[in-house]
């Protein structure tokens, strides 16, 4: 797999996954939607874990099974750091970026696999 594409997909999916897990929590859900929402939070939590799991795929495809996992860990940290410092200043933008990265990342992943 092309290295740049793998990096973009990995980073996008890691961010989307981290953001989904984050917004599944009461406090952060309120930051964006001003209230809690049990169904949406449950869905976000499930989607979050799934996104983080599939983010391994482009990393392993591009860097191999050993280095790919290291890259995945690095992207998880980097994505979470971006999120944690974006969220308090621009909560809506952080949520929007989650949508964009998830909607861009998942089809991108399917397209690159096909």
């Amino acid at each position: 797999m092309n290295m740049t594409l793998a990096l973009l997909l990995g980073a996008a999916l890691c961010y989307a996954g981290m953001a989904a897990l984050c917004l599944a929590m009461d406090r952060h859900h309120r930051q964006v939607w001003n209230r809690t929402g049990a169904t949406r939070q449950k869905a976000l939590r499930l989607i979050g874990w799934l996104l983080l799991a599939v983010a391994i795929w482009p990393c392993v495809r591009a860097w191999g099974s050993s280095v790919g996992v290291v890259i995945w860990f690095g992207l998880l940290s980097a994505a979470a750091l971006v999120l944690v410092f974006l969220l308090p200043y621009r909560p809506k933008a952080a949520a929007l970026l989650m949508g964009v990265t998830a909607l861009g990342g998942l089809p991108g992943l399917l397209w690159s696999a096909g």
Partner: protein
């Protein structure tokens, strides 16, 4: 009930350990993390600092335009003429970051000496008219030994252990690690510093644990020597046994000429299918002489692994030139434990996954530095509001010392790092030991930041040093343009992404420093205004409310 008390007791004792153990360690560790992060890009920095060397190219295979047999002859001739009876010779071959031949030897006091020679004429390069530089190696050496040799490695090792203690005690102290996983609440003083400290630490925790542990594992021979010392007479004997290499031979005292090393080079390169990087000769001039040649480490793009990326080695008798052993590039020896150690070392060195891995290490390394900085600052923010009187009547003086050490070790070392880049461009060409002067300029700049922190009020010292970092970082391309005639735009036009990235990264860090300094300045002004109430401002506030 009793269990609850015990739990609280553990958490409190861990909090104490984290606070005080962390404080003393974070000054050294901040330096280790900043220089380590920069060291990830040591080659790019070296290229920026030496405009005379070509820009990074693709792997060129055997032909890189250097007459290596001639370079070896030049090196051997120098060593034979000047140090015929040394116990060790080494010849470092020209590489694309250094076109010179480097010769190494052990002097009568068993100290290692080295010298750079012109690769064709063989003349020692003492005071070249080119921009001789320590380059990015400076940051790597600061990172693992503070330019202090074995003592420095022990120092860094000790504080790395302290870091592991800090990480574990920190996780125990942090009560709501999962609840606060993504929490950062800016603008709330002490709360915000604690949030930031928790966030950067927790979110990069896998990296921090890995980098500390693998750093220690890299130097296992130094840190845990007992096992080897019990079973082997020397480290070389241990390695020969572990890696099933020819055993080191005792000196015989019988004089014998070292074989022609250029033939050894040609034979080695033919078998290894790659250029050599180094040739070592044990006991030159003695009949027990032996030679080892080392293949160049080649970072391949598109083929990434954590194990088996060695450049290969070939072993020869030093007098007859007869080949004794051959280890192909990537061949593994030494069994599972040795392989695990190699993986750990490779994990630490960040050369296993191309640019992506390097940038992720850079980011996570800076997160580690931020972990140290936020921790140290939090310590003082907490106590500036209300003294905790840990040191009785002496408390204010101790706090002042801690504050000065904080400033010099955080903003001060950052200033010294960028000052090193300025030193590279400003120190006159052609002076003797130019690279040493660069390193001296780094240490002088660093020392001055402590002096500055000691004579200025704390907040002013922070702001001024951050502004100095910002100014030096942002003006770096200008300096480069004035002195060398290049800057990031011209680099980019030539497709020299490495050198351009050095300046672009410096400018980003400059902007970050400027932003931090401005925030501090605004906050400080607010505080001053609050102390001297201004009626107009108060009414304005009421109106807003």
């Amino acid at each position: 009930m009793s269990q609850a008390v015990k739990k609280e007791g553990l958490r409190q004792s861990m909090a104490w350990l984290h606070t005080w153990g962390g404080l003393w360690a974070c000054w050294i560790l901040f330096v280790v993390f900043i220089t380590g992060s920069l060291g990830v890009f040591d080659e790019a920095i070296t290229r920026w600092m030496k405009p005379q060397i070509p820009q990074a190219g693709e792997v060129r295979g055997m032909d890189d335009g250097v007459d290596r047999p001639l370079a070896v002859r030049v090196g051997q001739a120098y060593l034979r003429e000047h140090v015929p009876s040394s116990h060790f010779w080494g010849i470092g071959l020209p590489s694309d970051t250094d076109p010179a031949v480097r010769v190494f030897w052990q002097d009568e006091k068993e100290q290692f000496q080295n010298l750079r020679l012109d690769a064709t004429s063989g003349e020692p390069i003492k005071a070249s008219t080119e921009r001789e530089s320590e380059g990015g190696h400076h940051f790597v050496h600061m990172h693992f030994e503070f330019h202090a040799g074995t003592a420095g490695i022990w120092l860094v090792g000790f504080f790395t252990m302290a870091m592991l203690v800090g990480l574990v005690s920190g996780v125990i102290t942090h009560k709501r690690i999962f609840k606060d996983f993504f929490t950062f609440r800016p603008g709330k003083q002490q709360r915000s510093w604690l949030d930031a400290h928790n966030a950067v630490s927790v979110l990069s925790l896998p990296f921090q644990l890995m980098i500390a542990y693998t750093g220690l594992a890299t130097f296992y021979m130094l840190y845990m020597p007992a096992g080897i010392e019990t079973h082997y007479s020397t480290d070389d004997a241990y390695f020969a046994d572990l890696l099933t290499q020819p055993t080191p031979r005792e000196e015989t005292g019988i004089k014998a000429e070292v074989t022609a090393l250029d033939q050894i080079l040609i034979s080695s390169e033919k078998q290894l299918q790659r250029p050599l990087s180094f040739i070592s000769v044990e006991h030159p001039g003695d009949s027990s002489a032996s030679i080892v040649t080392f293949g160049r480490f080649i970072e391949k793009t598109g083929e990434y692994r954590l194990l088996g990326d060695g450049g290969g080695q070939v072993f020869f008798d030093g007098v007859s030139g007869e080949q004794q052993d051959f280890q192909a590039p990537g061949e593994l020896r030494g069994g599972a434990a040795q392989d695990v150690q190699s993986v750990m070392r490779n994990l630490h060195f960040a050369a296993f996954g191309g640019l992506t891995a390097r940038w992720l290490y850079f980011i996570c390394g800076l997160a580690g530095a931020a972990m140290m900085a936020t921790g140290a600052i939090l310590f003082m923010v907490k106590r500036r509001q209300r003294s905790l009187n840990e040191f009785g009547a002496r408390t204010p003086q101790v706090y002042r010392i801690i504050e000065v050490l904080n400033i010099g070790s955080i903003s001060g070392i950052s200033l010294a790092c960028i000052a090193f880049f300025w030193g590279n461009r400003l120190i006159p060409l052609g002076i003797t030991d130019r690279p040493e002067w660069e390193v001296i300029s780094f240490f002088v700049a660093w020392l001055l930041t402590y002096v500055h922190a000691a004579i200025r009020p704390a907040t002013k010292a922070w702001i001024e040093q951050l502004l100095a970092v910002a100014a030096l970082c942002l003006a770096l391309p200008l300096l480069n343009w004035l002195v060398v005639g290049d800057q990031f735009v011209s680099y980019l036009q030539r497709g020299d992404g490495e050198r351009a990235a050095v300046e672009l990264t410096a400018m980003s860090i400059g902007l970050l420093s400027l932003w931090t300094a401005r925030k501090l300045w605004l906050k400080n002004r607010q505080k001053v205004e609050r102390k001297t109430p201004q009626p107009s401002l108060n009414t304005a506030k009421v109106e807003v409310a």
